[in-house]
């Protein structure tokens, strides 16, 4: 499909969208809420159309690539919005201690409310509390591990380990549900 997209076959793009549109839109809905998700979904597929060579099948399947792109775009938006909030906080000399966290929490509230992903919630709920919170803050809210550490009042090294352990355990859980696949079609 990528070879076809590279030579301007819009039906190939359509086929890829039919197959993975709900993945990309799901990621965007999760991270940004339903309002901005279509914009990000469109950006991701147009990016594939305009720069198909950015996809390297040696590194990941197409689904993974698109999901990663979607996450990246969403996090860019979240961080940009967080910076904007921080600027506004400085100007108004607000007493908010962590505007980034608060903004992201609002995003999470909106996003999590719309999640139809029982699997993920189940898997998350089974994680030890410290791992679950760390993964939620990083994955759902787009915080860096340093921000996660500050938010949880934990050392950065410990936080990174929690992320790794939590991710590994989620991987095992999702693998049990056959949600982690090695060979995706490209």
């Amino acid at each position: 499909m990528i070879a076809r997209i590279r030579v301007g076959d819009d039906e190939a793009l359509s086929a890829v969208y039919e197959r993975y549109g709900s993945v990309v839109h799901g990621v965007a809905t999760q991270l940004l809420g339903p309002g901005d998700a279509p914009d990000v979904t469109q950006e991701v597929f147009l990016s594939l159309w305009e720069r198909p060579d950015a996809f390297d099948p040696e590194r990941a399947g197409l689904k993974t690539y698109l999901a990663v792109r979607a996450r990246g775009r969403c996090l860019d938006r979240l961080r940009s919005a967080a910076r904007r909030v921080r600027r506004e906080v400085r100007v108004t000399e607000s007493t908010h201690a962590s505007s980034t966290h608060e903004y992201a929490t609002q995003v999470e509230d909106a996003a999590v409310a719309g999640i139809a992903a029982e699997h993920l919630r189940e898997a998350l709920s089974r994680l030890p509390d410290d791992q679950r919170v760390a993964v939620q803050l990083a994955y759902l809210e787009g915080l860096t591990y340093q921000q996660v550490a500050a938010s949880m009042g934990a050392p950065e090294g410990t936080t990174k380990s929690r992320l790794r352990l939590g991710l590994a355990r989620l991987g095992r859980e999702l693998s049990d549900w056959n949600l982690v696949t090695a060979g995706e079609p490209t």
């Binding site: 301007g8 969208y17 709900s22 949600l179």
Partner: protein
């Protein structure tokens, strides 16, 4: 970031990387490491797969209009494909490539039989020299030209004489004749590009004739490469684009005698540098009709057009009628000689 992390610390960093939870400086450092160390890359992508699975567990159907909107927007942003070479440049490039090849041949190469013909390599170059004379006559550049409808038999007496000459003399005759055509066209001599001329039993515009000559020059150069054990050569993307676009453009008229209307909803997708997407009909006219898409590599397709690959041996995929695909690939080589 610890500049020399142990494996456990590295795995911690890779997990944060997969979650996009590193700061920009660390992320850039890990990006470089992932790009340069296959072992690290394996672990990193395994974690990224898990994150992607998390993503996939969050499926949400997009609004029903979004797909159409994306395709409309994509339509307004055509991909940057190679610009097609002007026909005369295309021909000049193929002439240069063949001249370079002939310059490299060993003395023994000239006597080898040039498959799929009975000619030797020298005979094949003599054939090209004769065809350049014939082409020059069509363009009003030559008076003393061989005549005939059979491309392979035309000028047989001239070829026989050339076979008695040293290879270098044959090469000179071919090369000077070919270069004369290019120079004349570039100087604006000869008929206008859209003038129709009869090339054997076919009618081509002058521009198309130059493309056909380029195609034959490339094909025979590859014949000589095969014969002498050399690797086949692929023209520049811009040259391929001109040849492939022309070849595909002939398909509707070629198919009209075999299966009229069969290509009404047909699309040919030629992948690779120099390829492109070609709608042979107008799908918008009959969107509900049975659709047909043939996909193959542009160089392989050109080899098929040149008759150097049989349809059944071509690596292609088809959406729609597979018999139609074979019919189409069969007629695609109608101009092969």
């Amino acid at each position: 970031m610890n500049p020399n992390p142990n494996q456990s610390e590295m795995d911690d960093l890779l997990a944060a990387w997969a979650l996009d939870a590193l700061d920009p400086v660390e992320r850039a450092a890990i990006d470089r490491l992932v790009a340069s160390d296959p072992t690290v890359a394996d672990r990193a992508y395994e974690m990224q797969h898990t994150v992607a699975a998390l993503d996939a567990s969050l499926l949400a159907e997009p609004p029903s209009s979004l797909g159409r909107s994306i395709l409309d927007e994509a339509g307004s942003r055509p991909p940057s494909l190679a610009e097609p070479s002007p026909a005369v440049d295309l021909l000049a490039h193929q002439i240069d490539a063949l001249a370079d090849l002939l310059d490299q041949l060993d003395p023994d190469d000239w006597g080898l039989t040039a498959h799929p013909y009975d000619w030797t390599v020298q005979g094949l170059v003599a054939h090209l020299a004769v065809i350049e004379q014939y082409t020059a006559a069509l363009l009003g550049l030559e008076v003393d030209a061989p005549q005939g409808e059979d491309h392979l038999r035309i000028g047989a007496d001239r070829i026989a004489r050339l076979l008695e000459s040293p290879p270098a003399a044959v090469v000179d005759q071919w090369h000077s004749g070919a270069q004369r055509i290019v120079a004349a066209i570039r100087a604006g001599h000869g008929p206008a590009f859209d003038t129709v001329v009869g090339f054997h039993q076919w009618s081509f515009s002058v521009e198309e004739l130059l493309i056909v000559r380029a195609f034959e020059t490339w094909t025979h150069a590859d014949d000589i490469r095969r014969t002498t054990g050399r690797r086949l050569w692929t023209p520049e993307a811009s040259d391929l684009r001109t040849m492939s676009a022309f070849s595909v453009s002939t398909l509707p008229s070629l198919m009209a005698h075999v299966a009229p209307d069969a290509l009404r909803n047909a699309r040919v997708v030629l992948t690779g540098d120099g390829g492109g997407t070609f709608n042979l009909g107008d799908r918008a006219v009959d969107p509900a009709g049975s659709q047909f898409t043939l996909v193959t590599d542009v160089v392989d397709y050109c080899h098929r057009v040149a008759g150097r690959v049989e349809p059944e041996a071509l690596d292609f995929s088809v959406e729609g009628d597979s018999d139609l695909a074979l019919q189409l690939l069969s007629v695609a080589s109608a101009f092969a000689v």
